[in-house]
Symmetry: C2
């Protein structure tokens, strides 16, 4: 099995093997990631420690993600609502595991005004009777409202989603992947029966998996988290796990079955059909701007960001090639009419998003600008192209640009975009397949995760699958390897399908449970 990072294009696109991004993935993966975010103008650090600024190109990606997910949520019967940014400290304290999980990293509001202090500057004043926590997640405040809204079984199921910002204090920032403030959606539902709540938990994981694979072109493994990796307060957490190009796992979306834990802590009760009183069964599920980080690390190459067309803020950029002033009108007219024609093409239910870049950047600089930003298709059109009614086309997923007849290009555009979408998915799937292995001994498992080169500790095996028992002994053996159980895969999601039982490679005990293990973000 080869351990390698894809470098499909840099040798050919960039003359003299110069890449758009420095360092390359092989040279320094973490720094490469930062440089991609910077070069594609997706986001940057702000003067507020831990908080990021999402720039228009990055926010455009988020808007597309939001739009698609929002429709999927509504199609599955959820409604949006909005709940307070602040949570009273006492609310967080109601569910013991929950507060344990979030107390160490929350922003605390203690005052409600500023007033002149002794040294002339302003100091906090108007101390609050009870401190308020900036929401790290909203189970407790939404649960409180649910308790008010739910009276009878007729009020169930209650299926709500919220798009908002949350804060989990974090000092070691990585843009999109780990920031103190991030944007997300959190779904919260209440049901009359356990079975219904479990069904909802599974349904929403399916929604996330479909979104990841069909829209983000990012293959994911669906499974259940082990006890130690569950959401604080949940009975069960389902997850989708994706492999990044450094072969680490990125948890990309989770769906929690909360049992009656929050319902009991918050008195979410209802009169059941028999006239008695029951506690509701609740779920919660969320994805965040972290998905942008996942998308970057799944597809980008050493020349910059690569965007799946179904998520890209723009599909096509047209770059007029004008060498003399007297060519300008003809070229611009050609480009404008081309733009109109392209805008009339439908892709994925909407018109293709195309724009003309007639900025005064030089040709090479302009082309690289759009390569780095990941625009799926670049078009150059100059006087000679116009003469032959053709254009010069570059696909972001392929190294070479080439001349194409204009009519032929437009006629094939929708399928070209889908081809790019599919090729990105296949490429990512190939990486995962090549770097996933099944193990029956701990020694081999350990070797798989041990870096071959001390200078590059990040280069390791990938995903390992094996039988295991979820217990402290297993955790102890994993700890020194910095490997965690990513999930217990759903049927059909693992390598060793059909094998019913095996031996835990950590404890030697017989078991029916298989796990996917990996290093993670």
């Amino acid at each position: 099995m080869t351990l390698r990072i894809f470098r499909p294009s840099e040798q050919t696109i960039a003359p003299m093997a110069k890449t758009g991004i420095s360092p390359t993935r092989e040279e320094d993966y973490p720094n490469w990631y930062q440089q991609i975010v910077r070069a594609a103008e997706l986001a940057e650090n702000s003067p507020v420690r831990g908080c990021m600024v999402i720039k228009p190109w990055g926010y455009g990606i988020w808007e597309n993600m939001q739009g698609i997910l929002d429709k999927m949520f509504k199609d599955t019967g959820h409604e949006n609502a909005y709940f307070p940014l602040f949570i009273p400290k006492s609310f967080l304290e109601k569910e013991a595991e929950h507060v344990e999980g979030f107390a160490k990293e929350c922003a605390v509001v203690t005052h409600h005004r500023l007033e002149p202090g002794p040294d002339g500057g302003l100091v906090p004043a108007g101390k609050l009777e009870e401190p308020l926590i900036v929401r790290p997640t909203s189970e407790t405040i939404i649960g409180h409202m649910f308790a008010k809204w739910i009276g009878s079984y007729r009020d169930l199921p209650l299926k709500i989603n919220q798009w908002c910002n949350v804060v989990r204090w974090e000092m070691r920032v990585r843009l999109f992947l780990r920031t103190a403030e991030f944007l997300w959606q959190e779904g919260h539902t209440a049901h009359a029966t356990e079975e219904e709540a479990l069904e909802e938990t599974r349904l929403m994981l399916d929604v996330y998996a479909k979104f990841a694979e069909d829209y983000m072109a990012m293959p994911v493994i669906r499974g259940e988290k082990t006890a130690g990796e569950r959401f604080p307060g949940a009975d069960m957490t389902l997850t989708i796990e994706a492999m990044m190009q450094d072969r680490k796992a990125l948890q990309s979306g989770t769906s929690h079955f909360l049992g009656q834990n929050f319902a009991k802590a918050q008195e979410i009760k209802f009169q059941n059909k028999e006239g008695g009183e029951s506690f509701a069964w609740t779920t919660s599920w969320g994805v965040s701007t972290r998905l942008i980080g996942a998308m970057i690390m799944t597809h980008s190459d050493d020349d910059g960001l690569v965007l799946p067309p179904r998520i890209a803020p723009k599909h096509v950029v047209i770059m007029p090639v004008i060498r003399k002033d007297e060519e300008r009108d003809t070229v611009m007219e050609y480009c404008q009419s081309l733009k109109d024609e392209i805008s009339a093409v439908m892709y994925d239910g909407s018109p293709v998003k195309v724009f003309i870049d007639d900025s005064d950047k030089r040709g090479g600089e302009k082309k690289w600008h759009h390569i780095k930003r990941g625009v799926p298709i670049r078009i150059e059109a100059g006087p000679r192209d116009i003469e032959s009614n053709s254009i010069f086309v570059g696909r972001r997923d392929q190294p070479k640009s080439s001349g194409v007849g204009r009519n032929e290009f437009v006629a094939g555009l929708a399928s070209t975009l889908q081809e790019i979408q599919d090729s990105l998915f296949q490429r990512a799937l190939k990486l995962r397949t090549e770097n996933t292995q099944s193990f029956d001994s701990f020694e081999k498992f350990k070797a798989f995760f041990t870096p071959k080169n001390e200078k590059k500790p990040e280069v390791h095996g990938g995903f390992a699958e094996c039988f295991f028992v979820d217990c402290p002994e297993t955790d102890e053996k994993l700890k020194p390897l910095k490997v965690t159980p990513r999930c217990i895969p759903f049927p059909g999601q693992g390598l060793t399908e059909g094998v019913e039982e095996g031996k835990c490679i950590f404890t030697g005990k017989p078991t029916k449970v298989r796990g996917i293990f990996g290093k993670s973000y």
Copy 2:
């Protein structure tokens, strides 16, 4: 001139003059407003003092408002981005007037975790070196980023919008109108010249006015704020002002020309075309969930919420009338096919939003539920209607329901919706026209604003127009009346067009400036 509140429908819709909402507008306007919000399930108070919960029907209205405005912003060349929730205290302090305006009402984050305290509960820990303010508005943090992003005149104009939550501490809450946390958009732009920035300030006010009038069916007066009513730190604030049904003014959107004040405080500089260095000219502009309050108070009646179709989350509700079980299949089939047919009708560029309510509420209860929620068109269909291929239709802007042929209804649906939209605008315009008066003496002006009935201090004149000088003497005379200058109307927005000059009714001085005055929210 009659001073009256519209009561177009309650006598006729509700049998025995019973209204859907109690109290009525005449009986107790502030309480009526609260009851509308409650009955329509738009929002409610949360356990966090000052913060509201926006419920699905209310949030659906906000989503529509967002969608329409967002498109208008993008069509005028703006891009969305996202900036941190927190602002360092020192940032707020950079612009003197600005901090003065917000220091008294801001939420202050002082700690970044909770830890067990002496009495067992959790206490704030991890004190921050510098307190963080939860953004009341983002001029300072966005300005800081602008200063980094802008290097040369080629980077200008920079036109950014942000959709987010903001916090301005507020104890006396009125849902949507005055809450500690609210949702809004804030546009922030930087320009190379004063003229361009002024043009932007005016353009965005036009966008707001168009949105208010064409979508919210809410007539607005466009004008400039007097010096005392400007945004803290602005050189000029433009506003749209709407008259509510209690004849008070509601400031519904503002657009600020910030001159070079923020640019100088934050070093937003650029290399100009001549190679020298200049400060940028900046603007900011915003509308918030307050617009939902404005919409409620403009259109609702004593039976509940009234929604302009272009803003309504749903346009049509179909209520199947089923008296015997054996009728169910036939009636449901008829309603389903009607729903499909209605969904195929286009209104305002999108399919008509229709739903079937087959809940087990009784007929009267179900009908009132949708009246109170303001669904523009209600349809009832039962076995007898089906026989004659007809339906029973109620328009929310008219008192009586009546039978209509199904085909005729569907064919006319788009124009019926537009008719409702237009009738709401005309009704609101009529109210404003009937309750706006021009004055040439302070005595008459004072009488206009003096309640006729001590028990109903809210019943007063409406909008008064007069010549005035914007000076402390004027302010002094206005204060005891609890009347403020709403704006200096743009040409074409006042009653006394064509009169070039007059005498200030407060100071007696000659002046060319006319003002619109009113009591306000």
